[in-house]
Amino acid sequence: MVLPEIRVSPVIQKEWGWPLALAVFLGGLGGGLFLLSELLYLHRGMVLGIISMCLSVVFLVLDLGQRPRFWRVFFKPRTSWLSRGAIFLTGAVVFGILYVAPSYISGLPWKAGTALEYIMGLIAGIFAFLVILYTGFLLSASRFIPIWNTLFLPIQFAIYAFLGGIDAIFIIEALGWISVDVEIFAPIAAALLIATLVLLGIYLAIMFSTRMGAKEGASLLMRGKLSPLFIWGVFVVGLVIPIVIDLLIIFLFPNLATIIPRTLLGISATLTLIGSFLYRFTLLKAGVYYPRI
């Protein structure tokens, strides 16, 4: 015996909003920036990465109904992605601070260039990488929101995180805070942007052709009330314009050390970061439940 098919309007999740979108965005950005800066040994980049991850923790806490109880989040890493994420963020921030501290504070028991510093850097890097992964898995673990419940999300979030790291390096380089050879990164950023665009297209095509819930979520993004933000914010501002700018820079400016390409790279990076946040935000807002009940 079964119940006649339940036909009610789609139910959209309202519990998670912009604070969580910001937390996920800043976590991914911070993780990506920290990891890339560590590989390039850019201290200011690492510090900014740590600050970004700290802000991610702040927004995660702000989203709680009972903020003074935030410490309880560490209790269930075996099954809860929120718990795992909190541990990864804390690990990345704590070991990241310990790793960069000798460059700013003298008299610490561990010094720059020692084995202990190397180990702390390694642990911080592993945690930063796990932060990048957790942001996607936090959403994709939601079994009953089909538009989130896909491996595409962790992959896309990880690409966006590395892209965010490169973009942040472009911006702080354009501001003159660090000195780095951006010529290596411009083609990588362009390639990652194109990969994101293609993946996003495939993702939406799959969502449109699959189960209830996913299709409605994708419709909200492409045709519903979220479409202006998604199409103009994520696709046009966050992907298409930066791709055009990056390709123009690569093909028109053989020497990227001049002011014009560096400024253009900074603008392209800023647009990508805006799109990256809007992607998280719109995706959260498009969370349609299955079953409809």
Binding site: M1, E5, R72, S80, P291
Partner: protein, 200 residues
Amino acid sequence: MRYGMVIDLKRCIGCYGCQIICKSENATPPGILWSRLLFYESGSYPNVRKIHLPLLCMHCKDPACVDTCPTGATAKRQDGIVTIDNTKCMGCKSCVIACPYRARSFHGEESEYFPGQGLTPYERVGYRKHPTGLVEKCDFCLSRIQEGLEPACVTGCMAKARYFGDLDDPDSEVSKLIRDYCGFQIYPELGTDPSVYYIL
């Protein structure tokens, strides 16, 4: 021991009595329904039926909310009842997202039933059980069960459409009903094994 409920949809008349008596028993704040009634139409013209489906927390055997809760506030008791510990919940809402039956509500801020007139004495007493910033849901009227009573929605159903008992006991009324009338769970394919069954 696994407490469960059987709802006879042939007997249910969609009177909202379960919803009201649940509110009366548990003093749930405005906008929060631990027990609710879903109305929808089934079939296509000219063979259309109006279905009313009473819903509450399914107290699943494999609840998705327990796994996703990062604090351990949501737990399944030995008797199968899924509870939320108010002192442990931090209001992260991940259990609300995880529940496929939409049985959980986040109580964001205190509101009154008569806006601008303040809380009634009943609300003042009742809301002690509903601190803000937490997630809440049906607990099968745990306090009543501990007193040897049945959940309020079972005793209060005037059509006598609800039955409560031990699903693990083959001689219990609920087990017999499920066996004799081909009781079914809603969306069993979701894999959470609900403890609320329906008969048609």
